[in-house]
Symmetry: C2
Subunit: 183 residues, 2 copies
């Protein structure tokens, strides 16, 4: 584990760890307040042993109804999902779920800033892409292609350069997304 | 349980059920996208029985670091905590926690719309109060009083009238909070 050392571009960390570490950094430096939402769990049985903390003894994973991350930045509501692929030329749509697409649609209707962070693990490249791109490809996948080409992601999204502190400085790309019309 | 019947002002429902039902209503009618955050759980042991879903066999409740609810409304980031009291003349500060106050401070610094929904159970009255009121009383509780007087809540907050659909129509009070300077 590299928890205590500086990790360049989150190398050796999972995408989730990289983003969580970046969010911790942003909160500490008062740049933004963004958290990963806890996994929804249905709790069935809890033991309350004397003199020690409660233990959950039976529980089940529930289907999430939203995306993984949300928060506030410069007065804007941010909402995003982070996914990775080992593909080199395109990002597979099967990495996403219907409920995430629906949630993006709902948040966009309320003028939220919605996006995905896509990691191409093999290439070690990260992109922030507007949720509208995912929605567009998602809607036509029945008759069209089942992945988003990297060339399209490069054109429509914003590459996030690997860094030290934070490990993934995605807020600059958010700034660009906010100022553009093609959300 | 009154789940399937119309419940006036959430009578017979817990405060959390009342707010969750209202949020479902708001989402359905595309008024706002607001969810209760799942309880954070630390999972230690999971069984994967053949041909059936995973069962969590050992897990622990973790301390939350934020408030219970957040979401997006008209481009604004909303963040709030809902609490109730049986008191009739004031709302006890002990119902809140340090991490909630810290989180409000952080979100206000990012221009989020932050508030509490307070239910006076005995009086059957609900108020939306700006987070700044809680922060003010919280900061002086060591030397000052340990509760916020109802008279102050009435003056600084917005009463939420009991309703049918949604059970607690708090967005009108949010509209007022947004337009006022005293956030
Ligand atoms: Mg995810
Ligand atoms: Mg609560």
């Amino acid at each position: 584990h590299h928890r205590d050392s500086v990790v360049f571009g989150g190398r050796g960390m999972s995408l989730e760890e990289t983003i969580n570490a970046s969010n911790d950094y942003y909160r500490l430096h008062q740049r933004a307040v963004i958290y990963k939402k806890p996994t929804p769990i249905q709790i069935v049985k809890v033991d309350y042993p004397q003199r020690s903390q409660a233990v959950i003894r039976e529980a089940y994973f529930r289907q999430a109804s939203t995306t993984d991350y949300n928060g506030v930045y410069r007065g804007y509501y941010l909402d995003f999902e982070a996914k990775e692929t080992t593909n080199k030329a395109s990002f597979p749509l099967k990495n996403f779920h219907q409920h995430q697409v629906n949630h993006f649609r709902n948040c966009l209707a309320q003028d939220g800033i919605c996006f995905t962070i896509m990691r191409f693990t093999t290439l070690e490249r990260y992109f922030l892409t507007p949720a509208s791109l995912l929605i567009e490809y998602w809607g036509k996948q029945a008759t069209g292609r089942k992945s988003i080409p990297l060339t399209t992601i490069q054109k429509t999204g914003y590459e996030i350069p690997a860094g030290f502190q934070p490990a993934l400085n995605y807020l600059d790309a958010v700034d660009q997304l906010i100022t553009t019309a093609k959300r």
